[in-house]
Symmetry: C2
Subunit: 329 residues, 2 copies
C-alpha cells in the first residue's frame, strides 16, 4: 500500500480545509460574534471529520470539489460541540490554546457555538443536489441529536457511582462514533453513492469512531506528555470513567476495587498518585485490553470495506484506520 | 371584523400547540437531557411564532395540518434562544418560573438549548414537499444566524457607552423581527405560496416583530406590575438601552442627558429612582413616541396585506397586529 501517497493526500486536503475555515467568518459582522468564532476555527485540529466527508464522497465516485462545503459544515459542527463541551467541562485549554470561554467569556462562547452550528447548516446544502437535500439534512440532524444525547450521558456518568462498560459504549457511540458515521454518510450522499455504499461507509465511520475514542482514553494514560501536549493521567485526576477505568473495575479483586472506587468517591486523584494507578492498570492488563479493543473495532471497520469496488478507495480507508490507531496524539 | 372568532381561533390553535409541545420530548431518552427540555416546552408562552407559521400557511391556500410540525419547529427554536439568552443575561425567572439554568445548572441549560435546536431542525421538514425543503432550510438558517447576530449586538450594546437609535433598530430587526419574518416565510413556503405572497407575509412578520419589541420596551415602563408579572422599570434597573431610553437621550437637554447618562455609567439605577426616570420619560414625551412608533410599524405591516386576495386572511392578520399592540403583557 502506498502509505506515503495517502498521507500526503490527507495533509494536502487538511491544509485546504484549514485555509477555507479561516475564510468563512473573516468578512462577517458583527465582529463581537465572528472574531471569537474565527479564533476557534483557526485553531489546530486533525480535521478528521471533514476528511471522512471528502474521502467518502470520492469512494462512491464523487469528487472532492462537490464535498468541500459539507466538509466545512461538519468541522464547524464539531467545533460547536467543542466550544460548548469546554464550558460544561470547565476546560482551560484546547489544542494548546485557551478555550473560548476562558479567552472571552461564557456568554460569548455559548453564542459562538450557536452561530457555528447555524453556519454549519448553511454550508451543508450548498452543493447538495436537491433530491438528496432531505436525506443529508436528516443525517446531519440525527448526528447532532445523538451528540447532544451522548454529551448528556457523559455528564450523567460524572455523577453516577456505578457505570458499566456497556453503558460507556452506548455513550461513546452517541458522543463520538455517531459524528464520524454521519460524516461518512454525508460524504457518500453528496457523492451520489448507492444505499449499500452509504451503509458500508457509515459502518466504517461508526467503528473507527469507537476505536478513536478508546484510543483517546488509552493515550491519556499510555501516551507521552511531549507528544500529547498535556499531562498524562488527566482523566484519572478528573475522575473520568474511561474505557480503561471501567475495564479495570470489572477485573479488579476486592482490594483493587476499593482503590479504584476512591477515584469515584473523591471525584479524581492527586497528580502524585497517577503512577500508582498506571501500575494498577498495567497489573490488571487493561492497557493491553484497550489496545485489543481498538484493534478489534479498527479491523471490523476495515473488513466492511471489502464491498467497495475501487482498490484505491479501500486502501485509503484502510490506511486511515491504521494511521488513527497508530497515532500518539 | 369578527374579532371574537379570530381570538377564539388563536386560543384554539395555541392549545393544540401547547399539547403537541408537551408530547415531543416525553418519550425520548436520556431523561437527564429531555426532562429539563420538557420543563421549558411546557412553560406558558404566547406561541406567537407557531401561530404566524399556521396563519401564513393558511393565507396562501394551505392547511393548518400541513404546518403543525414547522410551527413546533419554530417554537422549539425560539425556546432554544430563550434558554441560552437567559444564561447570558443571568436571568432568574422566565414566564413566572425559574429559568432552566437556575432550576438545573448552566451545563444542562446549554445542552438542552442545543438539543431543542437540533429537534427543531428535525421537525422543520417533516411535512415539507421536497422541492421546497431547500428554501425552507435556507430560510430557517438565515433566521437563526440573524438571531445569533442580534443577540451578539445586544450584548455588545451593554458594554458600549454610545448606542444610536438606528443601531438599536438594526439590533432588534435581527434579534426579534427576523424570527417573526422567518415564521411567516416558512408558513407561506409550506402552504405553497407564490413568491409575491411569501414577500407580503415576510414583510408583515418583520414589521410586526419590530412593533412587538418596541411594545416590550414600552410595557416595561408603562405597563402594570399585576399584568406584566414583573417589576415595572426593570430595564432601567438593569441599564438596558431600550427604544425609550435612546429616544430620551436624543431629545434630552444637557441636564437631562447627564441624568440619563448616569444609567449607563452606573450600569442601571436603583428601584427607588424608577419613578423619577418615568417622569423624565413622560416629560420628554418618549412614551408617546414609542406608542406612535408601534402604531407606525403596525400600520405598515397591515398595509402590506392589501395584496392578499382572501378577505378573511387579511382580517386575521389585521386582528393579530391590532391585538399585539393592544396587549398589556
Amino acid at each position: 500500500m502506498n502509505s506515503e501517497k495517502y498521507s500526503n493526500l490527507y495533509k494536502k486536503e487538511k491544509l485546504k480545509i484549514d485555509a477555507k475555515l479561516k475564510k468563512i467568518l473573516s468578512t462577517r459582522k458583527p465582529h463581537s460574534l465572528y472574531e471569537p468564532g474565527h479564533y476557534i476555527l483557526e485553531g489546530e485540529g486533525k480535521r478528521l471529520r471533514p476528511i471522512l466527508v471528502l474521502f467518502s464522497a470520492k469512494a462512491v465516485g464523487g469528487k472532492f470539489s462537490q464535498a468541500y462545503n459539507a466538509a466545512l459544515s461538519v468541522e464547524m459542527m464539531h467545533n460547536f460541540t467543542l466550544v460548548h463541551d469546554d464550558i460544561m467541562d470547565n476546560a482551560d485549554k484546547r489544542r494548546g490554546r485557551l478555550t473560548l470561554h476562558k479567552k472571552y467569556d461564557v456568554s460569548t462562547a455559548i453564542l459562538v457555538g450557536d452561530s457555528l452550528l447555524s453556519i454549519a447548516y448553511e454550508y451543508l446544502l450548498k452543493d447538495a443536489k436537491s433530491e438528496r437535500s432531505h436525506k443529508i439534512i436528516d443525517t446531519f440532524n440525527d448526528g447532532l441529536i445523538k451528540v447532544c444525547e451522548g454529551q448528556s450521558l457523559d455528564k450523567e456518568f460524572e455523577l453516577k457511582k456505578v457505570v458499566t462498560l456497556s453503558e460507556y459504549l452506548v455513550m461513546i457511540k452517541k458522543k463520538t462514533a455517531a459524528l464520524a458515521e454521519m460524516c461518512c454518510r454525508i460524504g457518500a450522499l453528496i457523492g451520489n453513492g448507492s444505499d449499500e455504499e452509504i451503509e458500508v461507509l457509515a459502518n466504517f465511520g461508526s467503528k473507527i469512531g469507537i476505536a478513536f475514542q478508546i484510543q483517546d482514553d488509552l493515550l491519556d494514560i499510555a501516551g507521552t506528555e511531549a507528544e500529547l501536549g498535556k499531562v498524562i493521567g488527566g482523566d484519572l485526576v478528573e475522575g473520568k470513567k474511561t474505557f480503561l477505568f471501567l475495564k479495570a473495575l470489572e477485573k479488579a479483586n476486592s482490594n483493587q476495587k476499593k482503590k479504584l472506587n476512591r477515584v469515584i468517591i473523591n471525584k479524581g486523584i492527586k497528580h502524585s498518585e497517577i503512577d500508582e494507578y498506571k501500575k494498577l492498570y498495567e497489573k490488571l492488563g487493561v492497557i493491553t485490553d484497550a489496545q485489543k479493543e481498538i484493534v478489534k473495532y479498527s479491523k471490523s471497520a476495515i473488513k466492511g470495506l471489502e464491498k467497495l469496488t475501487n482498490v484505491e478507495d479501500k486502501e485509503i480507508f484502510t490506511w486511515l484506520a491504521n494511521s488513527l490507531i497508530k497515532r500518539n496524539k
